[in-house]
């Protein structure tokens, strides 16, 4: 899949907007600019890959409010908030709600450049991971209850013998079930299986 992201620039100051777009352009990336958060929310397409660069203080909705709004809507879009006052409170609040970066105006050389690049990488990666996890989740759903139980004990690092005793089945049965878990999830090693489960939170979902 071709990754073709857009950088959304939201700032009520024309000069700032233009400068960020220039920077994005120099990176060879497409950009779209909006004078306010409301305008952006009305127009952007959530399915499009990319990231958001927003000023903190604006007429109307602020940068933090915008970021919160996106998070609430379950939209995963990396956000870079630029502020004239890098106030700790705002920074903390922003990071807590999942923003990637908070930058202070004016940015040091390449600071914003780096941040945008990182955000796009994160977005690309995220979008890729989302695909793998989805497959794993489907495979995970095919596991029987007994097999899931075995998977659970496996993830806790129990030996087959211990599992057999806990479940009151033979070691042979545990080994068979273990073999089927690997087969059904398409994983080769215990480490991979554990990572996938953690990433998709499959175990907790199952509960």
């Amino acid at each position: 899949m071709q990754y073709n992201p857009t950088v959304y620039v939201v700032d009520d100051d024309q000069g700032a907007r233009d400068s960020v777009r220039a920077l994005v352009r120099s990176m060879g990336v497409t950009s779209e600019a909006f004078a306010s958060a409301e305008e952006f929310l009305n127009q952007f397409d959530a399915s499009q890959p990319g990231c958001l660069v927003t000023d903190l203080r604006m007429d109307g909705m602020s940068g933090v409010e915008l970021q919160q709004k996106l998070a609430e809507s379950g939209i995963h879009l990396p956000v870079i908030i630029i502020t004239a006052h890098a106030e700790t409170q705002i920074t903390v609040k922003a990071v807590k709600t999942g923003a990637v970066t908070v930058l202070e105006k004016p940015c040091r050389e390449f600071e914003l450049f780096d941040a945008i690049r990182a955000a796009l990488v994160q977005d690309a990666k995220f979008r890729k991971n989302v695909g793998a996890q989805k497959q794993f989740q489907e495979k995970f759903e095919t596991l029987s209850a007994d097999e899931r139980k075995v998977l659970e004990f496996m993830m806790e690092g129990m030996a087959n013998k211990v599992i057999a005793r806990r479940l009151d089945v033979s070691i042979r049965t545990v080994e068979n079930r273990r073999q089927r878990v690997f087969e059904k999830t398409g994983t080769d090693s215990l480490a991979e299986l554990v990572r996938m489960v953690v990433e998709t939170k499959a175990v907790s979902i199952s509960e």
């Binding site: 700032a16 400068s19 120099s26 060879g28 004239a84 105006k105 940015c107 390449f110 914003l112 450049f113």
Partner: protein, 986 residues
């Protein structure tokens, strides 16, 4: 009748000579026939006119009943009945005469003889068949005329008719007399007599001749019988003449009066013999007035030519002159030749007489008043001028009568006398005569004194219809009287003794001052002589003095006069000789030299006092002429400027004036000179002799019109020290204002810092973009048009952003700058714009909207820009700081500018919480603040700044619930004044 006269004559002649008799008989017969014809015609004419009179009488009856108003149909019917009734009781000369009324449509409305004629139209009946221009009934109705004619009636019978028009009925009242009845009457009276005459002439005369031989008796008896019969017919015929109330006569064509009726004779108190066979104009009636006679002669001549003559004329009666409507009717024979003239006169109604009399009397009055040297005027009851003679016109300085005619006289009477004049006018209109002296204004505004003698002006009925006044201009007299009074008063009241001395040295007159001065009662003094009061002029030398006086006419000398108490007073006497009516007097004017000496001393002392005051004054007092030259200066000028007064007077004041002040001083002088008594204050710098400048506070007063001063008086005081101190104070205040600005700047620095980050941020991003683009591009891609275009654009953006940053910094710096205290012209719009920019970040941040309402044609103001900038920022800051705390979503600041009388008012309003009214008084106090971290200096300093600029600052609650701060600044044109006021304010 005329025809009996020749026959009587012939009868007498017959008694003497048969031959002559026969000839006479023939003549008589011819003459008799002619006379018969003529008299018949005359009778017919007179009957026609009588008919008209009767008709007129009927009309008058109706008109009288009606009082001139138009009639309704019911009234019309009543009127017709009324006419019929009157006619019934009317004394009529002929039995068959009748009256008819023809309405405006030509229909008969009343016919006293033939009621069946009523309703028949006679509209087109010709009423004057014998005249050249024929008239129908309708024509007559249309012309509303009246007419007396001989014509034919509706049935073709000859008749005599009088047509009289009744305006109120719009109808003709016609009195008809059938010619037949007149003729039968005439024939029954006159014709038998004529036939008898002819018969007697042919038959009886020879017999009578025969009889004459027998004796006179029988012939006399017959003659007597004939005479009696003649008289009888004469009387009856005369009745026609004499029964009319109008004057009728008969004239030959040359104007010889042949007959006159009794009415005419009675009127003149005459007998027939007095008038008959005389030229008419020589008769009594016409006597005493040549014009009247000439007029009559002319009329007779015209009538003799066949013309009907008619005019109004006054004729002499036994008791009075009366106006008559006089006509001369020519009588034509069958050949159309005028053979006789019938003069008739009808007394015009009394009212007409009165009118004519009034007109006459006016005429006479006019003649009198036109030649009268004094003003004669006639006023109507409302005081309007009806007439004014030339002398009167001259008095009121009117060019023509039109200027004054029908104008009320009252407005030209002066205020003092108007009431009296109007009262007099009222009295005159009541019939009294009056006299009044009064003042008035001529049309050209000159005041004049008048003496008027007024009397009522009556019409013929004795009713007062006007106010006739003879007025004399007594202005001159009044003036003389006044002057005389003044003169006498001045002499009486003169504080110097005055004497009029006779040749014998006795006093003819002494004034009160003389009596007082020398202690004698005035009466006593009058019984004394020069010798008694001046020992140096005893009786022995008096004739010499008088002789000398006669020679020189005027003598001035000093002497001593003895007072009653024995004191001798030194005096100066000025004497003049006056000769009047053969007598000589000496006028002596006495001056007390002793008093004069004291007065002179007093003046000297006063002058010395004032001089001392001026010369020792700490202030410098100078006088300048209009051209700016110093004409006097007090000695204190040396203390202030180092020059001696004499030195500085020669120096042009402009030369020692500080060059910067010259222009303003010139303006001040111009303004001063333009208005008497005007005063100007100002502070100027003058150069001391040593070259340094002294600051002086000067007051200049225009006393150019003040007698004895006639200059611009300037008082100035050296205030250099005070001025320096004031300057220092000002500097301190300026410094304080600066501190306040810097303090404010600290408060708004955060906002500014944020604002400046904006362009810096942009610069950083563009710079990074440039670097990235260049670094990531292939080696040769510098030629890439897309890239280079981007780079150029970004570079431009960097420049713009950098400029923006610079501007912000400058704005801040400007605000933090120290004021150089210079006053310059500044645009209000610019000032407000800069102030808004400075706090833009804060207002944006707190979502405060700023609305400005500034007229585009607002003039510039004079101010210290930085300080006014400070005031505006301060007020805006206060406003948004209040709004910051506001819960309202709508936070607004309104900035308004209005121009009013040389000032501009700027107001800044907010819709914040407003100011507690209790605190409004304190709000401008120093160190008073409502803000937790405020210093309390902002408003105090702002107000000081505004007041230093000659303006004022106020606060009030506004309609938005917030506060409005307003302050005024003088507009730029008052450059000098404002800077001056600033100095004064300090």
């Amino acid at each position: 009748m005329a025809e009996n006269r020749p026959s009587t004559k012939s009868f007498r002649l017959a008694r003497t000579s048969i031959g002559v008799l026969l000839v006479a008989m023939l003549v008589t017969a011819v003459a008799g026939w002619l006379a018969f014809l003529i008299s018949r015609q005359a009778v017919l004419n007179s009957v026609a006119h009588e008919s008209l009179s009767l008709a007129q009488t009927l009309v008058n009856n109706v008109e009288f009943e009606l009082n001139d108003s138009k009639v309704s149909s019911q009234e019309r019917t009543d009127l017709l009945e009324h006419i019929a009734e009157v006619w019934e009781h009317q004394e009529r000369p002929f039995d068959n005469s009748f009256v008819c009324v023809v309405g405006s449509n030509g229909n008969v409305e009343l016919h006293s003889a033939k009621p069946d004629m009523v309703g028949i139209s006679v509209a087109s009946s010709v009423i004057n068949p014998n005249a050249a221009e024929r008239k129908t009934i309708l024509d007559l109705l249309a012309s509303k005329g009246s007419l007396a004619v001989q014509n034919k009636d509706f049935f073709g019978n000859d008749q005599l008719a009088g047509y009289a028009y009744s305006p109120s009925m719009d109808a003709l009242v016609v009195v008809h007399v059938p010619a037949s009845s007149v003729e039968s009457h005439f024939l029954s009276t006159a014709l038998p007599w004529v036939l008898a005459l002819a018969f007697m002439a042919t038959l009886l005369i020879p017999i009578s001749i025969g009889l004459s031989h027998l004796g006179y008796l029988s012939s006399d008896r017959e003659a007597e019988q004939a005479r009696q019969s003649q008289r009888q017919s004469d009387r009856r015929f005369k009745a026609i003449f004499d029964s009319t109330f109008q004057f009728i006569g008969l004239m030959s064509v040359d104007g010889t009066l042949l007959e006159a009726n009794q009415t005419a004779l009675n009127f003149g108190g005459l007998k027939k013999e007095d008038v008959l066979n005389k030229p008419f104009w020589e008769t009594y009636w016409w006597r005493g007035d040549d014009d009247r006679v000439q007029q009559l002669k002319g009329a007779i001549a015209r009538a003799a030519q066949g013309e009907f003559v008619r005019y109004s004329v006054s004729v002499l009666g036994a008791e009075s002159e009366e106006i008559i409507d006089f006509t001369i009717q020519p009588v034509f024979n069958d050949d159309g030749k005028v053979v006789l003239l019938v003069p008739e006169g009808r007394l015009i109604t009394e009212q007409r007489v009165a009118e004519v009399k009034l007109a006459e009397s006016e005429e006479r009055l006019k003649a009198v008043i036109d030649t009268e040297p004094e003003c004669v005027k006639l006023l109507d009851k409302d005081g309007r001028v009806l007439s004014l003679n030339p002398a009167g016109l001259k008095m009121v300085e009117a060019e023509s009568l039109d200027q004054v005619l029908h104008q009320s006289i009252f407005p030209v009477i002066d205020d003092e006398h108007r009431e009296a004049y109007m009262a007099m006018h009222e009295r005159v209109m009541q019939g009294e005569t009056a006299q009044l002296e009064f003042g008035m204004y001529s049309l050209n505004g000159a005041h004049r004194w008048m003496d008027t003698h007024a009397s009522p002006f009556r019409d013929a009925t004795g009713k007062v219809i006007g106010h006739l006044a003879v007025t004399r201009d007594i202005t001159q007299k009044k003036m003389v009287e006044k002057q005389l009074r003044f003169t006498q008063f001045s002499v009486d009241a003169c504080s110097s003794p005055i004497f009029w001395i006779r040749q014998d040295a006795s006093f003819f007159y002494v004034n009160e001052a003389a009596a007082l001065k020398f202690g004698y009662p005035r009466d006593a003094l009058l019984s004394m002589s020069v010798h008694d009061i001046d020992p140096s002029y005893p009786a022995e030398v008096w004739p010499d003095y008088w002789e000398n006086m006669q020679k020189k006419k005027t003598l001035n000398f000093t002497t001593e006069i003895k007072c009653r108490d024995g004191f001798m007073i030194p005096v100066e006497i000025s004497t003049h000789l006056l000769e009047t009516e053969g007598e000589e007097f000496v006028f002596a004017f006495v001056t007390d030299i002793a008093e004069r000496k004291v007065a002179e001393d007093l003046i000297r002392v006063n002058e010395a006092r004032f001089r001392a005051l001026v010369e020792n004054s700490y202030d410098v007092i100078s006088m300048f002429s209009t051209n700016g030259r110093m004409v006097y200066t007090s000695p204190s000028v040396k203390r202030v400027l180092g020059y001696e007064p004499a030195q500085i007077i020669d120096i042009n004041p402009g030369a020692i004036l500080h060059p910067d002040d010259r222009e303003s001083v010139a303006a001040v002088i111009k303004q001063l000179v333009g208005q008497a008594d005007s005063i100007s204050h100002g502070i100027y710098r003058l150069r001391h002799k040593n070259g340094s400048y002294r600051t002086v506070e000067a007051t200049a007063t225009n006393l150019l019109d003040e007698p004895g001063v006639n200059s611009i008086v300037t008082i100035f005081r050296d205030i250099t020290e005070r001025y320096v101190a004031e300057e220092r104070l000002r500097e301190r205040e300026t410094a304080l204002a600066h501190v306040a600005r810097v303090s404010t700047m600290g408060e708004i620095a955060a906002g500014i810092a944020h604002e400046i980050k904006q362009p810096l941020h942009a610069v950083a991003n563009f710079a990074t973009a440039t670097t990235v683009a260049l670094r990531s591009a292939p080696e040769d891609s510098i030629q890439n048009p897309q890239l280079s275009e981007d780079l150029v654009e970004w570079n431009g953006a960097i420049k713009t952003a950098a400029q923006r940053a610079t501007a912000i910094v400058q704005r801040l710096r400007k605000y933090a700058n120290k004021s150089d205290q210079s006053v310059e012209t500044a645009s209000v719009v610019t000032l407000i714009g800069e102030a808004i920019d400075l706090i833009a970040f804060e207002t944006r941040r707190h979502k405060v909207e700023i609305e400005t309402d500034i007229p585009t044609d607002l003039p510039d103001v004079n101010c210290d820009r930085i300080q006014i900038y400070q005031v505006l920022v301060n007020l805006l800051k206060n406003a948004y700081e209040v709004l910051k705390l506001s819960n309202s979503d709508e936070r607004k600041i309104w900035i308004r500018a209005t121009q009013m009388e040389g000032q501009i008012q700027l107001s800044i309003s907010d819709n914040g919480s407003g100011i507690d009214t209790k605190k409004q008084g304190k709000i401008f106090d120093a160190f008073y603040t409502t803000k937790p971290n405020g210093m309390g200096m902002g408003l105090a300093i702002s107000r000081t700044i505004v007041e230093d600029h000659g303006g004022s600052m106020s606060v009030e609650e506004n309609e938005y619930g917030g506060a409005t701060f307003a302050f005024t600044l003088p507009v730029a044109s008052k450059c000098l004044a404002s800077s001056q006021e600033r100095v004064d304010a300090v």
